[in-house]
């Protein structure tokens, strides 16, 4: 009954701290004339989901260095990065790399 694209957004490695410290968000992206891509998703996230300090997540039109984007557990680089066309039920994981030991 919901119009729009249902996707799961997940965060890890500390990236969740910028999103209200919640690691998993089930979201519905509103219907749009153009297909949703990671590029448009990032803008949507910045406007709707990001709680603080956007520069720690986004730089320019992409994620900042040190954040890996994984679509259904595969590196987004294998799928076209920003231009990947999001499909219904996709799980998109944003993981901040850790450096401690």
């Amino acid at each position: 009954m919901t119009d729009g694209l249902q996707v799961t957004l997940e965060f890890g490695g500390g990236a969740e701290l910028l999103f209200g410290n919640i690691k998993k968000h089930e979201v519905t992206l509103p219907v749009d004339d153009t297909p949703w891509t990671i590029r448009s998703l990032l803008t949507w996230m910045k406007d709707n989901l990001l709680k603080e300090r956007p520069e720690l997540f986004i730089q320019g039109d992409t994620v900042r260095p040190g954040i890996l984007v994984l679509v259904n557990d595969a590196d987004w680089e294998l799928l076209g990065e920003l231009d990947y066309k999001i499909e219904s039920k996709d799980t998109i994981l944003f993981i901040s790399t850790l450096h401690g030991g």
């Binding site: 890890g12 500390g14 450096h99 401690g100």
Partner: protein, 440 residues
């Protein structure tokens, strides 16, 4: 007389024969022992008795155990990851382990760096770990490097080993180690941990990607959290360190299923491992690509804009009159009950230890309307007393408190207040004013 001298001569001759025979025997025994311990194609009685439980696994066998015995593995960082990695490698029968760490053992290491003990506080980590590992396996050869790995020594050290384990705690050393491994053709097993999460992968193995293929640009320094600031549950690097040892052992054994081109994510919170697929090797990678730009090691601290340690350095954002030292703060806030003291650390840190009567407002919330009204309410109760009213800000080391002063000066500009921060933070407080206050 003749009889006596004759006998003496015979005895001397026999003694000489005896000496020669004894020497021959010793040499043969030594050879045999050497052969049984060090033979490149045979396991000794001790080896069999010690390692039988893993030798009888078909994937290992005598051949695999021999491969371990003749292998050499370098562990960079003998902390939360390096300790468990070293322990399991030593246990498995790896012949030669190299340990690199510039640091000495501190009390705050002991919750997760379990090769070190209370007795070894102040001792170089490589020495402390080496003693513990030799107790576990006396025939293990250990090379200790009590030094900071850097662009001038890294290749020389890395080249001596078959496999390298990255058990470091900072971005600059991770890039350095990656480039050193690519330039010398060594696989790099890389692990990291923070809070309740761990990450593990293998770089530069069997035409797989290197660290730079995945992360061509270093993260902005302000986005990097170390264990001292973010915290880490000891068992988490324990899990990742043991997995690093396991990947290194699998590489020695020539197993398939090496974690190359994949990243293993471990979450202690959800008790889950997640294995994600990484990109392939980047043909235009700066160091492992077809036309590499990096042919020798560079300045990694400059490249990353951050120090090659996990120690925090001091910043200086304020003028001298915007700061107060620990004895003067004690005199004003404690002895004379003047002013308001705001502690900008996290609630968890504040709960651990705090100056009595101080108010906890974490730095990240300091300029939020709720926080500002909380401060103004606190001021209204007392403000008539002094003009301008002193507002003191403290944090752990005196860095965040400076940022807080700048933010508070803006949001409290309509109040008649003088905002100052404690130079050197609660570390200075503990050293100069209250020796019962913990330094963490």
């Amino acid at each position: 007389m003749d009889k006596i001298s004759n006998l003496e001569k015979q005895i001397a001759y026999l003694q000489e024969v005896l000496r020669c025979k004894e020497e021959e025997l010793r040499a043969l025994q030594a050879n045999e022992q050497h052969a049984s311990f060090c033979s490149p194609d045979k396991l000794s009685k001790d080896d069999v008795e010690r390692f039988s439980r893993q030798i009888i696994i078909p994937a290992i066998g005598c051949k695999g155990q021999m491969a371990l015995k003749t292998s050499s593995i370098l562990i960079v960082g003998v902390g939360g990851l390096g300790c468990p990695a070293a322990q399991y490698l030593a246990g498995s029968g790896v012949g030669h382990i190299g340990l690199v760490d510039y640091d000495e053992v501190e009390c705050s290491n002991l919750h997760r760096q379990l090769l070190h003990t209370e007795d070894s506080i102040g001792v170089p980590k490589v020495t402390s770990a080496s003693i513990a590992l030799k107790k576990l396996n006396s025939s293990l050869r250990i090379s200790e490097y009590h030094t900071q790995l850097n662009s001038s020594n890294a290749l020389n050290i890395v080249q001596k080993y078959d496999i390298v384990i990255d058990a470091t705690d900072n971005v600059a050393t991770r890039y350095l180690l990656n480039d050193a491994c690519v330039l010398s053709g060594k696989p790099l097993v890389s692990g990291s941990a923070l809070r309740l999460e761990g990450q593990l992968t293998v770089y530069n193995y069997n035409k797989g990607p290197c660290y730079r293929c995945i992360f061509p640009k270093p993260p902005p320094p302000e986005t990097v959290t170390n264990c001292g600031d973010g915290g880490v549950l000891g068992a988490v690097p324990g899990v990742v360190g043991v997995l690093e040892a396991l990947e290194a052992i699998k590489i020695v054994l020539g197993c398939s299923g090496i974690l190359s081109g994949q990243l293993l994510l471990f979450s202690a919170e959800s008790s889950a491992f997640r294995n994600v697929r990484l990109r392939t090797r980047n043909a235009s990678c700066d160091v492992c690509g077809e036309n590499p730009k990096i042919s020798h090691l560079i300045d990694y601290e400059q490249f990353c804009g951050a120090k090659a340690t996990d120690k925090d350095s001091s910043i200086c954002l304020l003028r001298e009159e915007q700061r107060i030292n620990a004895p003067a703060l004690f005199d004003s806030f404690v002895s004379k009950c003047e002013g308001l003291l705001i502690d900008v650390r996290s609630p968890e840190e504040f709960e651990m230890c705090a100056v009595p009567r101080s108010l906890n407002i974490p730095l990240k919330n300091i300029d939020e309307p709720d926080s500002v009204s909380q401060i103004i309410t606190a001021l209204q109760d007392k403000q008539a007393e002094q003009n301008p009213f002193p507002v003191y800000v403290v944090c752990r080391r005196g860095n965040d408190s400076q940022k807080a002063v700048l933010m508070l000066e803006k949001v409290l500009k309509d109040q008649n207040v003088a905002v100052r921060d404690l130079t050197g933070g609660l570390h200075a407080w503990a050293r100069k004013v209250d020796s019962d206050f913990p330094i963490y």
